[in-house]
């Protein structure tokens, strides 16, 4: 689906990516995590053909993204953080934009729109930011594109909408579709994003499924400051310590807390299966 190799990219003279590698097979909801300025949005734009790499190889859906071939673009839906919607009704918007997406499914669109409780009689430019996001998401999901890139999709959504978002995206996943969700709100994404990709200092320092991770480690909440050789990472939180321990035998039967995992990976990436130096 997506293969990046030896990718170099820089804004001006300061290099952001030197020798970036990434391989994304289809059929998953990838979570792309990273600190501010790590280059998450830049990576998404390189994949979508909005930025051109300085050198290296890239293949997205069988195309070189810099060519921006219509066949590639019509198979990608990209929800950015900032967007603009014209001053028209939903029906007009669909009339003008659907012809560019051959796999668009009108029934699915109507279902999503009603799931998100959007008022079809309103002009889309009068929607609030959250409603616009839900509208674009409905359009993107209904377009049945093979690749969906969502940049901070839950920003601006209220609590019930976030729950609905998780449900809707989970139900829209098929074998042929791939989601890449870039986010800081990992707690909104728990039980949704599965293979986790962590980008740090221009390098992908972690790329693994949570199942693989939980085979070898466990995250626990402990009252006392943790001791022992099996402690990979610990941080003070209200009510005790959030601890990441080596757990190859499955002694601790706990899920993986994504925020703690993220902090632990940033602190010592090579302690994890899927992590790299």
């Amino acid at each position: 689906m997506i293969t990046l190799n030896n990718l170099h990219f820089s804004y001006g003279k300061k290099p952001l990516f030197t020798d970036l590698k990434l391989d994304v097979p289809s059929g998953n909801i990838y979570g792309l995590l990273g600190m501010n300025g790590a280059g998450k949005t830049t990576l998404l734009k390189l994949i979508a053909g909005q930025l051109f790499r300085k050198s290296g190889e890239a293949q997205v859906l069988g195309f070189d993204p810099v060519k921006r071939h219509p066949a590639m673009l019509s198979d990608i839906f990209y929800l950015p953080e900032e967007f603009y919607l014209p001053n028209m009704s939903i029906a007009t918007y669909l009339k003008l934009n659907v012809p560019f997406y051959p796999k668009f499914d009108q029934n699915a669109f109507d279902r999503y729109i009603s799931e998100f409780a959007l008022d079809t009689s309103q002009k889309i430019s009068d929607f609030s930011y959250g409603q616009k996001k839900k509208f674009l998401l409905s359009f993107g999901l209904a377009s049945n594109t093979s690749l969906l890139i969502l940049d901070e999709p839950t920003n601006g959504l209220d609590i019930p909408s976030k729950t609905q978002f998780r449900r809707t995206v989970a139900s829209a996943l098929t074998e042929e579709r791939t989601f890449i969700i870039s986010t800081h709100q990992v707690r909104d994404m728990e039980n949704l994003i599965d293979p986790i990709i962590i980008l740090h200092d221009g390098v992908i320092i972690f790329n693994a499924s949570l199942e693989d991770v939980s085979e070898s480690i466990a995250t626990t909440l402990e009252l006392d400051e943790p001791q022992g050789a099996d402690v990979i990472y610990s941080e003070k939180v209200p009510g005790g310590y959030s601890v990441v321990r080596k757990d190859p035998d499955g002694t601790f039967d706990s899920g993986v807390d994504l925020e703690t995992l993220f902090n632990a990976v940033i602190a010592s990436p090579n302690s994890f299966k899927g992590g790299v130096k």
């Binding site: 066949a71 950015p80 900032e82 603009y84 007009t92 003008l96």
Partner: protein
């Protein structure tokens, strides 16, 4: 072809509100002074229809250039709208062709019909209210079509400016054209000085004795002048617009997310 038609339809829908405002303002600006002048019995005489032709020319050139300038600034280089521009599943050349058809062909023709229709309505009113009878805009006037041909060429320069400059493209295009003209005229003047220096010497310092040599040389000079004129016309009518289009195409193909301002 299908994509170009879809793009044109999209453009018309998205510009609809702005175009209606534009048309209303123009119509109002013709109508109101006309009514005032009619009221004071100062309507222009019946032979003078330069008013509509001049108005058409002004709106064609100024309006057209501004439209071309705005459209790329607002779509290709706008921070919020560029995303949609880049992700739209069409080829770069289709985007360019759709915009060129819209600005270079549809706009002049629609404007022509609009001004003609306005002139019919307003002169109709004048005839009824003030018993005046100025002619409508004459669409068969050669001047109209000369304007449109020149507009076709010149709008390509603004197209180039609009795709080349990321911000304030209209002002920068005008300034660039000025600078280029000045530089060109300096170069031409220098060439003229060098090339015509011998003739000038003969002509101005040779006294009144006109001999055979001077004649031949003068004929050569005239031929040279004619050659320059042909070169100039060819550049203007045949080369300028294609050059601007090709450069614009490459800018559109190579625009990146980081170009947005």
């Amino acid at each position: 072809m299908r994509n170009i038609l879809l793009l044109l339809k999209k453009q018309v829908y998205e510009d609809k509100k702005g175009l209606i405002i534009y048309a209303s303002v123009v119509f109002g600006l013709i109508l109101i002074p006309n009514l005032v002048m009619g009221f004071f019995g100062k309507l222009p005489s019946s032979q003078d229809d330069m008013g509509y032709l001049g108005l058409f020319g002004n709106l064609l050139f100024a309006g057209g250039f501004i439209m071309v300038s705005i459209t790329y600034a607002q779509e290709m280089y706008s921070k919020v709208k560029q995303h949609a521009w880049l992700m739209l599943p069409v080829h770069a050349h289709e985007k360019l062709i759709a915009k060129v058809i819209y600005h270079a062909i549809i706009y002049p023709l629609v404007l022509l019909i609009f001004i003609f229709a306005s002139s019919v309505i307003i002169e109709g009113l004048n005839a009824v209210l003030f018993s005046s009878s100025t002619p409508f805009l004459d669409m068969t006037d050669l001047a109209v079509w000369k304007m449109i041909l020149n507009y076709l060429i010149l709008q390509s320069v603004f197209l180039l400016g609009a795709t080349y400059f990321k911000s304030a493209n209209f002002v920068k295009t005008v300034l660039s054209v000025m600078v280029v003209s000045i530089v060109l005229s300096i170069i031409l003047a220098l060439i003229a000085r060098v090339v015509y220096a011998p003739y000038a010497q003969v002509m101005f310092h040779g006294g009144i004795s006109i001999d055979e040599t001077t004649f031949i040389m003068n004929t050569n000079a005239m031929n040279l002048l004619e050659t320059y004129e042909v070169i100039g016309k060819t550049i203007y009518w045949a080369l300028l617009a294609p050059f601007c289009l090709v450069v614009s195409y490459f800018r559109i193909r190579e625009v990146e997310a980081k170009d947005a301002v």
